[in-house]
Amino acid sequence: MLHSTAIIFTSFAYLGLLFAIAYYADQRADAGRSVINSPYVYSLSLAVYATAWTFYGSVGRAASDGVGFLPIYIGPTLIILLWWVVMRKILRIAKRNRITSLADFIASRYGKSAMLGGIVTVIAVIGILPYISLQLKAVSNSFSILVQYPGIVMPAESGALPIREDTALWVAMILAAFTIVFGTRHLDAAEHHQGMVAAIAFESLVKLLAFLAVGAFVTFGIYDGFGDLFARAAAEPSMRAMMTPFEGVAGGYANWAWLTILSMMAIMFLPRQFQVAVVENVDENHLKKAVWLFPFYMLAINVFVLPIAFGGLLRFPGGTVDADTFVLTLPMAEKQELLALLVFIGGLSAATGMVIVETIALSTMVCNDLLMPVLLRMRSLRLNERRDLTGLLLGIRRGAIVLILLLGYLYFRLAGEAYALVSIGLISFAAVAQFAPAMLGGIFWKGGTRRGALYGLIAGFGVWLYTLLLPALARSGWLPIGLLEHGPFGIELLRPLQLFGLAGLDQITHAMIWSMLANIGAYVAVSLSISPGADEHRQASLFVDVFSHTGEASGARFWRGTASAPELYHLLARFIGSEPATAAFDEFWRARGLRWPGDQLVADADLVHYVEVQLAGAIGAASARIMVASVAKEEVLTVDEVRAILDEASQVVVYSHRLEQKSRELEAATDELREANERLQELDRLKDDFVSTVTHELRTPLTSIRAFTEILLDDPDIHVEQRKKFLGILAKEAERLTRLINQVLDLAKIESGNAEWAETRVDMREVIADTLAAMDQLFREKAVRVEARLPDTVSPVTADLDRMIQVMLNLLSNAVKFSEGAKPLIEIALAEGDGCLRIDVRDNGCGIRPEDHEVVFSKFHQVGDALTGKPRGSGLGLHISRRIVERFGGRMWVESRLGSGACFSFTLPTGAGP
């Protein structure tokens, strides 16, 4: 059933399906209903990280050293936790500057340096070649094995085959054609490839499902679950040793840690990861799901790696079958044709996904950061005069894709056979790790300079070439093997695999240590010793402080010069086409309430910057800068001027912070003043009230005194009885007047603090008895029954005896006043507890409404007013009483319900008085 034609047909049908998905996604994107605007698609597209290396190579690695495949996935899980901090910043910078690739990012950060962008591109292309060759090797090998079904035959060394019969070459060519159709059908100003991302996300699902299927088949189909599989593996000494892999391996933990670090950098700085994570990102918030979903994907695709590896070792003892192919050969050996085909498609998914995204990312870099800056400077080409350059850009990219895949194939022919899949991939990881210092330093350290990044990259890459690429070529027989064993010119110290005598580590760890030392060392040392130029200063500030600069136009601050709007328009149109250019200008004009091309607008710094950013999206920052400079006459800013602008900006920030603080302080002061003013007004009102109330209270008795006096004066014939009655009223009103004035004076003294207080030991029982005796007459007149419940002894309190009598008099006379009805009753209770005495005076009068419970204690309040319409006292008594009780540390309150009497209570502390 598994004829080569059937396999090829299935493969092409699958690629066709991918293309259909991409086409559909592009259509949806054009209609404004993007399918990739989803955190799930974003997370799946990140899984382009899992390539043929993961699909076939992990098992191979696991079969040789057990645990070595895991750091490649644990590293990303750890670093992705920092994406919230790091990647959000990179995303923000990339969006604001229309960054289209890794090379563009680094070039842009270090002063839009075309040189730096070119170096990064070269490193990326050379560094990634082994990785691409790995994919070609995996696809061609899996194809060659599958066509031999039902036999299981390892493919011959491809070097032995004539080139035309080499499957890998055909794979490379088909993938190149497919990538070209995929990624370079048209030019997008933002370098978004929505269709590609959708297809990649789909491929991630396919490869995961295929791998899980074969894993489940091996674990539960061939064997009886994990327990059975591992138990059988443990019976073999070689496999039992793999279950405790760190034992007896010198530097085992160090190798492990370095592989983790290496993959942390790879997940951020592999060109294809940068492409899907940064360039193709449509919404920063997708990170939220991706930070756990993507690690979960990696966990899932690794669960069955070890079972398949052990299953393969058990099934094919003696090393006749390459462990890298176990994923495919196990189902074949079990005669599972469909599963084997599914595995092949899964591996094809993993490989094509990687190749498509990687070559698109690399071709963008080659075009924008390597070739365009050179071509634009070559005046003999007269590129500046060509009307439409979009065709040229697409042509360069297509050429670059073919070239990169052919170079990948060349590496496969030259060196690919000597290594297992994972080892090939790790060489690429080590190459892209060289970008880490320049990238991370670039976004967190303003001091990093162009020269520092340049020398760091060259030094790190140099060490990579010497310690990783050179040995790979030597082992494949292209260089004398003696170079590895005795060092160049017989200098043992310079042996590429034991540089300066550092031995005992694996090759990757060894290379990483030396290359990072060289890279970081040169980056820091050169950055610190040579001062940066104006452009670098500006870009450093824009990148590192991206969260404090607001708006796309912040870069415009640094531009001075003259330009013309039509010239800028034509420039933009030449690179991105006239329709997108018109749309871009229209947007800019509309933001200012104008219309393009009708309304005239001075081409100011904002417009120039806007055009440069748009252009950067198509041809990279460095080229965009060159092009804009060709039509706009820019005054070159010196370092001092840039520094001045930056200082100015930071001073403005500081100043505005200070202003904000000042205004906050002022606001607080104003609030305080307003409160004080309100208090004063309240006091003033109280004083007015007081005066008017007192006056009113004084006038009432005075009026009646005057009236009766006039009657007596005018009418000498008045009857004696009548006269006596009038004089009685006169005396009573005069007495009321006196009492009122006494109370007002008393209150004034208390409030002003001038009252004289005698402090003696007072027995409250005596106070109550004395008061009752003094009021006996009154009680009898009003026929009030008084019941006093006094304990035999109470602790004395520290107070003023006369004042206490005054309080009791007040409460009792109030009680008498309100004890109306058939059987007026006043109960007095004295109790001791909780360190204080409590005195209750209860009447059975009409009671007080709950809302008046506090009001009765205020000045001049007379509850009687509301009920009967006539005043029953001065309204000062209760107020003064409370003031007295509080003076001696006590409290006074009332409990009452309307219609059931009132109970006035107060407490006095029995301890040491104040």
Binding site: V67, L70, P71, I74, T77, L78, I79, L81, L82, W84, V85, G225, F226, G227, D228, F230, A231, A234, R240, M243, T244, P245, F246, E247, Y253, W256, A257, T260, K288, K289, V291, W292, P295, F296, L299, N302, V303, L306
Partner: protein, 65 residues
């Protein structure tokens, strides 16, 4: 402390935890013969710790809202 800042710090703390869990000397504790649920101890530990780390990450994200 703003919500965003707290979330960032939680992520950094989780990362540190992960670096501890997947390095010497913690790894050495599990580099022993024997099985857990039928799986060699070291591998069982790695996948459990890995899964726990992912679950914690999801929790932190959810708490951020």
């Amino acid at each position: 402390m703003s919500n965003r800042k707290r979330t960032s710090q939680r992520f950094v703390a989780l990362c540190m935890l992960g670096v501890l869990l997947f390095n010497y000397p913690i790894l050495a504790l599990f580099n022993v013969p024997g099985t857990l649920f039928g799986v060699p101890v070291l591998y069982a530990y790695m996948f459990i710790a890995w899964g726990a780390l992912i679950a914690l990450t999801a929790l932190v994200v959810r708490a951020d809202g």
